[in-house]
């Protein structure tokens, strides 16, 4: 089984529009959404038969005020400003890192560490019958990397058990823990570039991370005609950096219209004419 991951660095460059279209063309594939705090792939894939699982990672401190003697040792040692005295000592769950330092130093064992509910993950079938794995991190939670790892692990196990040939994953923006976690065991990264100053800058950072992790990649330039000179620059950069150029997609009102009605853009025949050759390049690169 192979895994293709779609990344961009910058948000809003068209990852989900393109990833959902490639999933549609691949047919026999598992769809994953690793953007666990702002998951948009299910909006287009319209899943049904959703199975829902709680996800817990890490702990939160809790102070029992009956036993607390107000010595303040925990608050003085906490590096995350997570313990306030208002007027009795209490933990601010959003600030608590779950390190347990307070529980270790409390002279009267008034602090307990409680398992933290971090979110949920889901296994479903898309409206065209493809297996879909996605998740919802609770707002403000850490552990997005762990939730990505959970989604990846269940999707890969399912894929192995059902002898699926391919996973296509829609990645998160940025270069932090969720992206690092998304890159594990991936065979090919598709970079969706936007030909703007910030799009190019962010693309270079995420491709450096990809290179550090030893994963090969190809690049698609989206809305290339909005800035042809920057598009040429990105193409030249890709060639110099051993990143295969997979194709360019022009700015298209039609793609925007498809997304506006929550439909997979690549299912539209005109858009398919644009994207199908790119998908063929991706398949060639995957086996090369």
């Amino acid at each position: 089984m192979k895994e293709i991951l779609v990344l961009s660095g910058k948000g809003g460059t068209g990852k989900t529009s393109l990833a959902s279209s490639f999933m549609y063309y691949a047919k026999s594939c598992i769809a994953c959404d690793y953007d666990v705090d702002a998951s948009n792939l299910p909006i287009l894939l319209k899943p049904n038969k959703i199975e829902d699982y709680a996800f817990s990672a890490g702990e939160t401190a809790y102070i029992d005020n009956e036993s607390c003697i107000d010595c303040g040792v925990c608050a003085a040692l906490c590096r995350f400003d997570a313990i306030i005295s208002d007027p009795s000592y209490q933990v601010v769950p959003l600030s608590c890192e779950g390190c347990g330092f307070c529980a270790q130093v409390c002279p009267v064992q008034a602090v307990t560490m409680i398992a933290r509910s971090s979110g949920r993950w889901f296994q479903a079938l898309s409206h065209v019958g493809q297996p879909l794995f996605f998740a919802e991190l609770r707002p403000g939670e850490e552990n997005s990397g762990k939730l990505v790892a959970q989604v990846k692990s269940v999707a890969r196990k399912f894929g192995t058990d059902c002898r699926m040939p391919l996973i296509i994953s829609d990645g998160p923006p940025g270069i932090g823990c969720a992206v690092i976690s998304s890159l594990v065991a991936v065979d090919l990264v598709i970079l969706v570039a936007e030909p703007s100053l910030s799009g190019f800058h962010d693309l270079q950072r995420v491709s450096e991370l990809m290179r550090m992790r030893g994963v090969k990649g190809g690049v698609i330039i989206n809305k290339w005609d909005l800035n042809p000179s920057a598009s040429h620059e990105i193409e030249a950069w890709a060639q110099q950096n051993n990143i295969l150029f997979l194709g360019r997609v022009p700015f298209s009102e039609r793609i925007a219209e498809m997304v506006a009605k929550a439909a997979i853009p690549g299912a539209d025949p005109d858009i398919e004419n644009l994207l199908r050759p790119i998908w063929e390049n991706i398949q060639r690169l995957l086996v090369s």
Binding site: G9, K10, G11, G12, T13, T16, D35, D37, A38, N40, I43, G58, E59, L77, R79, F80, L94, E97, G98, C99, G100, F101, Q104, V105, M113, L137, P139, G140, E141, E142, S144, G145, P172, P173, G174, I175, G176, C177, A178, V179, I180, E194, P195, S196, L197, S198, G199, H201, D202, R205, E208, L209, M212, L226, N227, A230, A256, V259, A260, A262
Partner: protein
């Protein structure tokens, strides 16, 4: 006054809004903090290079082999599995360490000191037109953004006006970015993706109790369902920035958005007026 500019979805116009707000407020000597430390773009958009750069470190444990007796206490208390104690060796995984300091404090042999682990840079630029840009830039390969966000936000805490350009999403680094703000501007686009992510980011801002207003970007005469969200939650729509191909193209090339869309300065002044009213 500290204004956070955030969004759930990426690419909806946070940096556009934050940098143009800064330009409009230049008479107050504003400080713009680019807290999108994974992909900081405000300096690019303002077309400036940093005047000064300094490295940011966070503490991680270092083991003194002369004192350590390999008792295993540090590995036992570390909730992040950043320490592994073997027969005559302790392995430290800096990338897993959350810098809580528990191991160093609790080591029975006093064999652990904390040393700096570089996580990124803070860049400072003093703008020609009055104002300062602080950029937090996370090192590539570093997994934890919140310490970098904190480091960037610790600068110029006393400035009259601080604008925070936040990372997308609703994770811990977004919370860290909007924390302690007087007002949160959530910018979105009127699409199913924009709407879905807006609701999540609004939940995050509400959890922190920060007064919030919405800005619809690339508006084409239709609020989509954002009007219903506003009516349901009482969170006002402060402005609608019309879609403009000219603005999109000139912004991509790094040109001043206020030149491509002069009416933007009125929209921004009106946003500021509404924030002042909401906070008075």
């Amino acid at each position: 006054m500290q204004i956070a500019v955030a969004s759930g979805k990426g690419g909806t116009g946070k940096t556009l809004l934050a940098t143009t707000l800064m330009r409009v407020l230049s008479s107050y000597g504003p400080v713009l903090i680019d807290a999108d430390v994974e992909e900081p773009n405000a300096g690019l958009i303002l077309g400036i290079k940093p005047d000064t750069t300094h490295e940011v470190n966070r503490p991680v444990p270092a083991i003194d082999p002369d004192r350590c007796n390999y008792c295993g206490k540090c590995a036992e208390i570390c909730k992040f599995n950043a320490l592994i104690v073997m027969v005559n060796q302790v392995l430290v995984y800096n990338e897993l360490c959350h810098s809580c300091g528990a191991c160093a404090y609790l080591c029975p042999q006093n064999a652990i000191t904390e040393i700096g682990h570089p996580i990124g840079q803070i860049e400072q630029t003093n703008l020609a037109e009055n104002g300062i840009l602080i950029t937090g830039r996370l090192n590539i390969g570093e997994a934890q953004s919140p310490p970098m966000v904190k480091a960037a936000k610790s600068k110029f805490g006393a400035a009259k006006i601080r604008i925070i350009d936040c990372p997308p999403g609703t994770t811990c680094s977004m919370i860290e970015s909007i924390r302690n703000s007087d007002y949160c501007l959530l910018i979105t686009e009127p699409t199913p993706f924009g709407m879905h992510d807006l609701e999540l980011s609004l939940e995050a801002a509400t959890m922190l109790g920060i007064p919030t207003g919405l800005v619809i970007n690339r508006w084409q005469g239709d609020d989509y369902t954002i009007g219903e969200l506003s009516a349901r939650t009482g969170v006002p729509i402060l402005a609608r920035i019309p879609f403009s191909a000219k603005l999109a193209q000139s912004y991509m090339k790094g040109r001043d958005p206020l030149e491509a869309m002069p009416s933007l300065s009125f929209i921004l002044s009106d946003i500021i007026k509404q924030i002042r009213e909401a906070l008075s």
